[in-house]
Structure formats: structure tokens, C-alpha cells
Amino acid sequence: MSATPLLSVRHAEKHFGGTPALVDAALDLLPGEVHALMGENGAGKSTLIKILAGVVNPDRAEIALSGQAVSIPNPQTAFDLGLRFIHQELAVVPQLSVAENLFLSHAYPRRAGFLVDWRRLNQSAKTVLDQLGIAHIDPRTRMARVGTGDQMLVKIASAFVTGDRQTPAVYIMDEPTAALTSEEVTRLFGVIRELKLQGCAVLYVSHRLEEIFQIADRVTVMRDGCVVGSALINETSSEKLIRQMTGRELSQTFPARETPLDSHIVLAVRNLATEYVCEVGFDLRAGEILGLAGLAGAGCTELLRALVGADPLRHGEIRLDGETRADLTPVSAWERGFAYVPEERRSQGLILSRSIRDNITLPHLQKISRGGILLDRRSEEQLSSVVGASVRLKAIGPRQTVRELSGGNQQKVMFARAMSRTPRLLLLDEPTRGVDVGAKFDIYTLIRQVSAQSVGVVLASSDLAELLGLCDRILILREGRQTAIVAASGLSQHELLTLCYGDGDRDD
């Protein structure tokens, strides 16, 4: 502790229109250290990071770099000071190429003084991508055509573009792994370890405890805008951290099935194919939870989109309660009792500019209004409060704008929307992405409870523990093709991963 911190923050404070986000936060980043920052959704982690990035104006903050007091009024200053950020919310320009996105905040390489040297730009981009082990992404493809996981990787990579400046010293990563598969996480960790060796400091935010214990040297816990503790990683434990974060004891065991499976088949899929998936077929029984597992780009998201009618079917059949549904669209799907949580909360899930209430009731307006026409705001708000509380939504009230919520709380709004009327079929795509540990287990309990009411559940997740803990069976997809359906009980994470990779492709 004798070394001068590379970065130190004291008395960071921020209010948003009267409600406190940061009360009095302090943090030290030592050279060569990976410092984990943990806390429940809405604890103030991202706010602290955005202050360091010059994105949010603090009410008050004392920031020092290597002992020298600095102020960071805008992102350019942060960049010039050698701070690099991976922010929680994906911000890419879909119209531009991968290479252009990587170099967005840098000067493009020039030719003849003013022409962009595209060859060199693409080459430098390739170098950065190679370094992260993601050479499969072509720097010239348009960002819009790149999958969500890969987009996240590109965003991460953009923090490693150094340009012609000195090597940056501090990396700050806000939930970089929330949208990554375990393989991608491993690669990112390799890069982080290298940064450590170079003497850089890394601030790392994640809700995944096992990651923290893998990569971090020290962990700081925040609660309600304050730092409530900081410890070396080998002096703490999961239980301790959870207690510090939530203030309660929490069992980390998945809720077990308590009712036997129904024999009724809710959803039958036969030989289904869309532009992105094919050869999919399964029967989902009432009360069953079916997992979807696969590597990045394997087609889990696309299969769910096909089931909800968002992508047109090439051929095949979807039968709901024995009746063939050829004309499925998201509208008719919700009307028939499907409930769907899409993968990407900001681009596909939420209306950020509207209130929690508006977001939660959007698919249910027909039922919850007067005659399907006149709004009934009181019932809407009652419903929103109730389902919001059931997922531990941290908000001022149902009328708060979703944009103002922390990332994890935005995710909870989407889940609350799907759960606000008991569905017939629940389609979940990464439902706990960015959700804190405590709320995650509440969500698991809710999924279990709703499945006990003869609801069929299809759950896609990159969190293998989640799949194994909740599902009855797991459907494996590889390159858009269904390769197996296996029973979950007795399966280990390693075995599941091997199934995802396919036979003998790889074993580690």
C-alpha cells in the first residue's frame, strides 16, 4: 500500500435531480493491480466511472493521477490523461465499419496529408483484433452486420487502440463480460493479465463472483452510493462480499423444482428453419424449462426470435397447445400469451425515453386499459410497482424514465414486463445480464414459480451455471443447427461446454 496510487478518487458525489447516486465514494487504483468494483444494481458504480470519464459532471469530486490533482471536464481530457474506458452500455455506430468504430476517438491514419489511409486503418485494426484473439472479425465489415457478442468485443478492443500516444496507464471496464461467452471471457482475462504485467491498473466491474475471484487482486464494494468496504481478494469470500453488497444472507443455491412436469405439450417445434437457424425440433411440456446453449453466434437468439415471430420462417412448424401457428408475429405472439425478453435491452427491449410504467405495460395495454382504448394509469402503476418490487427494481417510482435507471435495473424492467401477466410461454434471452447477485436469485425463483403454473419456459443464456441450475433439458445449437437435446441433471459445466464446441473439436 506504500506505492502512490495511479488513480485516486475522494469524496465523489453526484445527485440526479435531488436523488443521490453517489454520496461519498473513494477509490485507489495501484499500478499493476486489477481492482474489482462490486455492488448491487444502482449502487453507483457506473456513475463513478462516468465521472472519471468526464461524461457526468460530479457535484463534487477530488481526482488525482499519480498523486497529482486533476479535473476531468470532458471525455477528451480523460483520454489525454491516459484513461481508457469500456462503458457498460454498448455504443457503436452501426453504419461504420469495424475498423472505423475501433478508431472512432482517434485520428485516422492519413495519406498525402488529408486522405484517409484505409489500408493502414484496416491493418492497425486487424492488429488490435488479433491481440485480443478475435481475428475472426473482419475489420471491413459494417458494424450492423456483426453479432452482439462480437460488437461487445470490438468495443472492448477499441479501448486497446493506442494510436500514436504513450501507452495508457489505467483501464476502466464497466461490466465488459455481461454479454460475453465463457470462451471470450477467458481471452479477455488473458489480455488483462498482460496489462497487469505492463504495470497498468485495471478497474473491473462485474456481477459475476467467480470472475472476480479469478482475476481481481483487490475488491471494493459499494452500496447506496457509498464505499462500504475494500479488501484484498484472498482476505474475503463470496459470502462476505454478498453480505456487504446486499446487507442480507443469501443462499446461492438454485430453487429446485417442486412440482412434477405436466404431460401436456405447450409448444411443439418441427423442422424449423429461418435465415439463421435450421433443423430445430423439440417438444416443450407445460412447466418445463428448456435451456438453449451454444457458442457466440450459434443461433440461440435467432431461435428465440423465430419462436416469437420476429424472423420469418423458411419452413417448419410451430404448434402452440396443439394448434399450428403459421402466421406468428410479435403482436400475435404476445396476444397468444407468449412473453419475450430480447437479448439487447437498449436496442431491442426498452423505450428508454419512456417511464418504467410505459415500458412494463406496453405489450399488455389491450388488457390493462379501459376497453383496450382508454389508458388506466392507476392500474398500470399498481401493476408496475408490484412486479418491479418482485425483481428488486431500484427506482423512484413507476413514472421514472427508464433512461435514468442503472443498467441492471433496466434489465429488470424487461423481465418485469414479461412477468406482469402470467404467460403461457416464456421466452428469455439472457434475462439476468447485468443483474446483481441478489436480484438474480430472485429472478430464478420467479422463473421457477411461474413454470410451476404450467407455463413453458425457453431460456437462452451464456451463463452455464444458470442453465444447469434451472433447466430440465438443454438444447444445444452449433452454427445455427440443433445438435442435441440433453437432460440437465447430472451434467457438469465442462461437459456442457464440450457439447457446445462439438465432438473432439477441442478439449480443455
Binding site: R60, E62, Q348, G349, I351, L352, S353, R354
Partner: protein
């Protein structure tokens, strides 16, 4: 370094900032009223003058209110001005053909709905960007108006007194000296349209869904909103409003001319933009549009009464719009 007093100051500043972001335009509007009241002491702040203003802006108001509906979805309709002209021409031609007033009016409104339907099909089913699609129909409607009228102004005996008399009439509400004060029919129509659009956008599931589309069309679609159908309906309503505004105009000038509505489109968009500066999220709301329309109308009325040169008046009005939108976006940037 930081004292308690300065913390309180910051907190106060934050509150003020939030208030200014959303009510700055309203405060500006009130300031304009105060200014004219001081400078035109005898005639500005009178019932008669405000009834005048309400009547003067009524056509613009109807078009701006219904324009708000498509702008809620983040779309535009550039064709409203030429639709207004076309509606006037169609009604006038039917009148010339000695059709009853009601027939002319209904047919013209029907043409408004049809034109809106056409816009809606292009935008939501064919998938053309609203700016391009309605730029195209702007020219089409205008060409049609010229073709039907032969480029002439239809006026005089061709326009029945029942039709032109409507714009001059009103409901007697009192006396000023020996003159009866009328609550103008045109104002009444604008108020009815305001009430309907407000109820539609703020109180119905239809409006809620339109705002959802405007916020994030993809999310709305995946959340079970019939995006295409609703967009189509919204464009039809805007087309209807444009035709209604055009008929009001024709009634007021007792004539129809293939270009007379052309100026309304930009003013309507300006009014909606002024209104958007009053919402935290920059969404259009019809009550905000009302303030926008009134700002334009009051400036015209007050500056005329103050004898400001017509061209200077135009520059001033433009400058005030730019100032309102700029300052509101600056305020929003400094969060």
C-alpha cells in the same frame, strides 16, 4: 474546499436547470406576452385581440396539432401544405359545380384521408423514408391542385356564402362598445381538434404506442405493437388535419388557390419543434405544439401592432425559434 453552502447552491442549480430545460420556452412565451403588454398597452392584452389571435392561428394550429401525431413517431409529413391547398381546390371546384357545401367539405376531407393513406403506405409498407416519401407527395398533391384548378384562383360567386360565412361567424360572447364580440368558429374548430388530438395522444393506448414507436421502433415491434398499421393510421390523421386546415383557410379567404397552403408546412413543423423544447425527453406533445403555435401567432400579431417592418418581423421570428431550440439543447447537453 467545498462548504455546505456551496453544496446547497449546487443542489439549487440542479433544480433550476431541470426546470429551465423544460419550461424555458414557456417562460420565454410569457416574457413575450409581458413585453407586448407593456409596449402595446391599450390593445394587446384585450379579449378582442386574443380572440383575433386565436382565429389567425387556427388553420396553422389544426395542421400543427395533427402534424404532432406523426412527429411523435419520429416521422415527418412535408405534404401537409400542398394537401391543404388541394383540399381547398377540390371543395371549391365542387361548389362551382353547384354541389352543396357539405358535399364539398366531406369530399375534401376524404381526399385528405386518402392522401394520408398514400403517405402511410409509402412510409410504413413500402418502407420509404418519410422525408423522401412526403417530399414526393408534396409535389404530387401540389401538381394535382394546379391541374384541377388550371392554375387559377377560384373565388367570387363560385364560393357559396354559407362556406365563406363560416370563417366570419362565431358564437356571441359579449359586447365591446357597440360591437358584439364573437368567439370565432375557426377557433372553436381548432380547440376541438386540440382536444381530440390531446385525448388521442395522451389518454389512449393508441397514443401510448405511438410514443413507444417514436422512442424505439424495434423495441415497440418486439413488444407487440403493430408498428406498420399504427404508422399508417397516424399519417391518415395528419392528412385529414391538413385537409381540414386547408378548408378553414379557403373559408377565411373565400377562395381557393393551388398554392395558398404552401407556407403552412414549415410553420407547423416549427411549432412542433418549439413544443418539443418543452419536454424533458424532447418528445412532441400537443400542448407544447399549442404553445409553439401561439408563440408564432403572438409574435406576428404583436410585432405588426408595433409596426415592425414585415421583413424584420420574419427575421425576428426565425431568430427566436433558433434561440429557443438552441438554448434548450444546450441546457440538455450540460447534464
Amino acid at each position: 474546499m467545498t462548504t455546505d453552502a456551496s453544496i446547497e447552491q449546487t443542489a439549487a442549480r440542479i433544480q433550476w436547470g431541470r426546470l429551465l430545460r423544460t419550461s424555458g420556452t414557456l417562460i420565454g412565451f410569457l416574457a413575450i406576452i409581458v413585453f407586448f403588454t407593456i409596449n402595446i398597452p391599450n390593445t394587446f392584452l384585450t379579449v378582442a385581440n386574443w380572440l383575433n389571435i386565436s382565429q389567425q392561428v387556427s388553420m396553422l394550429a389544426v395542421i400543427a396539432f395533427t402534424m404532432t401525431i406523426v412527429m411523435v413517431m419520429g416521422d415527418f409529413d412535408l405534404s401537409v401544405g400542398s394537401m391543404a391547398s388541394l383540399a381547398g381546390i377540390i371543395a371549391a371546384l365542387l361548389f362551382r359545380d353547384s354541389q352543396p357545401v357539405i358535399v364539398g367539405v366531406l369530399v375534401a376531407l376524404g381526399v385528405g384521408l386518402l392522401g394520408g393513406l398514400f403517405n402511410g403506405v409509402l412510409v410504413s409498407y413500402v418502407g420509404i423514408m418519410p422525408f423522401v416519401a412526403t417530399l414526393g407527395t408534396l409535389t404530387m398533391f401540389s401538381g394535382l391542385a394546379f391541374l384541377l384548378s388550371g392554375g387559377e384562383t377560384i373565388f367570387g360567386r363560385d364560393i357559396p356564402a354559407d362556406f365563406s360565412g363560416f370563417a366570419r361567424g362565431g358564437i356571441p360572447v359579449g359586447m365591446v362598445g357597440e360591437r358584439t364580440l364573437l368567439f370565432p368558429n375557426l377557433t372553436l374548430i381548432a380547440l376541438i381538434v386540440l382536444a381530440v388530438v390531446w385525448a388521442l395522444l395522451e389518454q389512449t393506448t393508441f397514443g401510448r404506442r405511438l410514443y413507444a414507436i417514436g422512442g424505439n421502433a424495434e423495441a415497440a415491434l418486439l413488444g407487440g405493437v403493430r408498428v406498420r398499421l399504427l404508422r399508417l393510421i397516424a399519417f391518415m390523421l395528419t392528412g385529414f388535419g391538413a385537409a381540414l386546415g386547408g378548408l378553414m383557410y379557403a373559408s377565411r379567404v373565400a377562395s381557393a388557390n393551388p398554392t395558398q397552403g404552401a407556407g403552412l408546412m414549415l410553420d407547423a413543423i416549427a411549432a412542433v419543434f418549439l413544443g418539443m423544447t418543452m419536454s424533458e425527453e424532447g418528445e412532441p406533445h400537443v400542448l407544447g405544439t399549442l404553445i409553439g403555435v401561439l408563440i408564432l401567432g403572438v409574435l406576428d400579431n404583436g410585432l405588426t401592432q408595433m409596426r415592425v417592418d414585415s421583413y424584420v418581423r420574419e427575421i425576428l421570428i426565425g431568430a427566436i425559434i433558433v434561440a429557443a431550440v438552441t438554448s434548450s439543447s444546450l441546457a440538455k447537453r450540460g447534464r
